[in-house]
């Protein structure tokens, strides 16, 4: 069995850990070996949350620089920051709606232009999908479904050894009952947007 290494980067509160759990559940449903690891020490206080998910016959739970097969970014500047995890064949999927840190708010740092971020990533990778996932999440009914929108886009690329259906099934198992329909809608919106190649 091949090995696929996925890194998800997000800002605290964007739902990275739930997204990772959904993928883990889908792997369990699909009988695919999986190892996951996350660092979320200061997530609640606006820090970065990073998950590594290794599918297939590997033992390691983390992913070294340059060794990610897919990078899924929930926040554009965080996707750019994680470019050192990518090689020239890495597929990158990113949300384009920014979550500026307080360093930007107090004028200590400057947030790069979204178009510039897009170009910088595009120049460095083979396959790149970028769209405003926040807009789609709102369309699905709640900005908090942004993580599931992005999972939809991820599944459209068919880079994981998991079926679309297994992830939809996992959403039903892993997300709160009251939000299942909304999450499935979010998943579809993400999937379709990635299909259009935006």
């Amino acid at each position: 069995m091949n090995i696929t290494r996925l890194i998800i980067v997000a800002v605290g509160g964007q739902g990275n850990l739930l997204a990772s759990k959904v993928l883990g559940e889908a792997a369990l449903i699909s009988d695919v070996p999986v190892h996951m690891s996350e660092i979320h020490g200061m997530a609640q206080r606006g820090g970065i949350v990073e998950s590594s998910i290794v599918f297939g016959d590997a033992e390691s739970t983390i992913i070294s620089n340059g060794e990610a097969d897919i990078l899924l970014g929930f926040e554009p500047s965080e996707t750019l920051r994680a470019m050192n995890r990518c090689n020239k064949n890495t597929k990158v999927i990113t949300n384009l709606a920014p979550v500026p840190s307080f360093m930007v708010a107090i004028g200590k740092d400057v947030y790069p232009e979204i178009e510039e971020i897009k170009n910088l990533i595009k120049q460095r990778t083979k396959k790149f999908i970028a769209f405003d996932a926040l807009k789609l999440a709102k369309e699905a009914g709640n900005p908090m479904t942004i993580n599931i929108v992005l999972l939809g886009a991820l599944m459209q690329t068919q880079t994981l050894m998991l079926s679309k259906e297994s992830v939809q099934q996992a959403i039903k198992i892993r997300t709160k009952k009251a939000f299942i329909d909304m999450n499935l809608r979010a998943f579809d919106l993400g999937f379709k947007t990635a299909e259009m190649g935006s």
Partner: protein
């Protein structure tokens, strides 16, 4: 640790969980508990934090096993962590000693599939049979207890020699000795480098006492050995000593400027590269894309939550202290973040409770105004004793106890300052 010591000596299986630096606080009871021993199994889970993702140091707690003279088990995966916990209880009961299950961040912050067995019925009431000449550690008693501890350590060494947790895979003559997460990285690396037939890996899972015979036999079959362990050269130094006893001559390396560092955590790519270098294999590292020409990405340092009352407290304290020459000892909690500009209230921090006791020192050793901060849960944990002494000694400082009635940073765990009735829990008292 004392609570666990009493429960285990009343015959109950007991578990005591803390991070690496927590064992420092619990070290006093632990050292002598090893002398006294246990009746019910006592497993201490110590989670080390190489790279200090959320800790003040990256000490290697395997040395606590050596220092106390008790066994250490170290899992390499999530699945093994679960299985080893069962094994640790059995080992503890067999030897009558506490056992440390030592993990690291990458075990604790990982998830994988685990098969659950049948859960045994819990035994929550035991009995304590008095035997002061075994349990009261006056010098005369401890002198005999230390003899017993050393005998137990010898038994533990025999168990380590045949332990299912010390595993050898492969039959080549390039030796790799590793532990914990390094085993996963080493397994992936030899596969990636296609050197499975050339290498032999000894994974140490029972790491104190180490198995001398097993390691000597392993070394005899190797032309050179690489020791892969995060943290200190705990195994490396022992392996070198064992090999010397056997009068073997072969290269053994681990911590070295061209190989592994004592600093931080390892990763799969780094372990692959070091293995390739040491055994002189052609290897092209997988290059990252060029990130040199990327613009500066805004930093995202953790920050006090929106609306957090600590911010206003810090601001008021700074206003009150305007014009004074100040030192702000701080403590462990969210409010440590007050050390960042523009608030900049945090000048000294070493451990939980140190805000209070270091204030005592600064107030004696300098003429500056000393103002320190501590949260309520840290205050109850280890700040309160320092304050008692400060009052007695008339130390001159202002202590600000940031009492928000909960343990906010780590997820609202109960502490003696929490009103548990607000969370619908019975059976607790309210401290007033």
């Amino acid at each position: 640790m004392e609570v666990a010591a009493a429960a285990a000596n009343s015959g109950l299986r007991t578990m005591c969980i803390m991070k690496h630096v927590g064992v420092n606080v619990a070290a006093d009871p632990l050292m002598t508990l090893a002398y006294v021993g246990v009746k019910g199994g006592l497993v201490i889970i110590s989670a080390d934090d190489p790279f200090m993702f959320s800790s003040q140091n990256e000490q290697d707690n395997r040395y606590y096993g050596k220092l106390a003279g008790i066994p250490i088990l170290e899992p390499s995966s999530v699945r093994e962590a679960k299985n080893m916990t069962i094994s640790a209880f059995e080992l503890s009961e067999r030897l009558g000693e506490p056992v440390i299950l030592r993990t690291t961040t990458r075990i604790n912050h990982s998830s994988a599939f685990v098969d659950l067995g049948k859960i045994k019925n819990r035994k929550t009431k035991g009995d304590f049979k008095k035997d002061p000449f075994k349990y009261v550690t006056v010098p005369a008693v401890s002198r005999t207890l230390h003899v017993k501890l050393l005998e137990n350590l010898e038994k533990a060494e025999k168990l380590s020699e045949t332990s299912e947790h010390n595993i050898i895979t492969g039959s080549g003559s390039w030796g790799i000795i590793c532990n914990g997460v390094s085993f996963s990285y080493a397994l992936d690396a030899v596969k990636d480098l296609k050197i499975q037939d050339k290498t032999k890996i000894l994974r140490i899972g029972f790491s104190n006492p180490l198995p001398p015979k097993m390691i000597k036999n392993f070394a005899k079959q190797c032309e050179k050995i690489l020791v892969i362990e995060e943290g200190e050269p705990f195994m490396e130094e022992a392996v070198k000593a064992f090999v010397q006893e056997e009068k073997l001559i072969l290269p053994i390396k681990g911590k070295h400027k061209n190989l592994f560092s004592r600093l931080y955590e390892f990763d799969p790519g780094m372990v692959r590269e070091k293995i390739a270098n040491y055994f002189e294999i052609d290897y092209i590292p997988r290059n990252s894309v060029d990130t040199e020409k990327l613009p500066k990405i805004p930093q995202r340092p953790p920050n006090l939550c929106s609306g957090c009352s600590h911010r206003a407290t810090f601001y008021e304290v700074k206003k009150a202290a305007k014009g004074m020459e100040t030192i702000y000892p701080t403590d462990i909690g969210c409010y440590t973040l007050g050390f960042l500009p523009p608030l900049s209230v945090g000048d000294f921090l070493i451990c939980m409770g140190s805000s209070v006791s270091t204030s005592c020192g600064f107030s004696k050793a300098t003429d500056k105004k000393v103002i320190s901060f501590i949260g309520d849960s840290t205050f109850f944990h280890s700040g309160i004793t320092g304050l008692v002494n400060a009052v007695f000694n008339n130390h001159n400082f202002t202590l600000v106890i940031l009492d928000n009635g909960t343990t906010a940073m780590t997820g609202h765990q109960p502490n003696p300052g929490v009103d548990m009735s607000l969370m619908n829990f019975d059976g607790y008292n309210l401290l007033e």
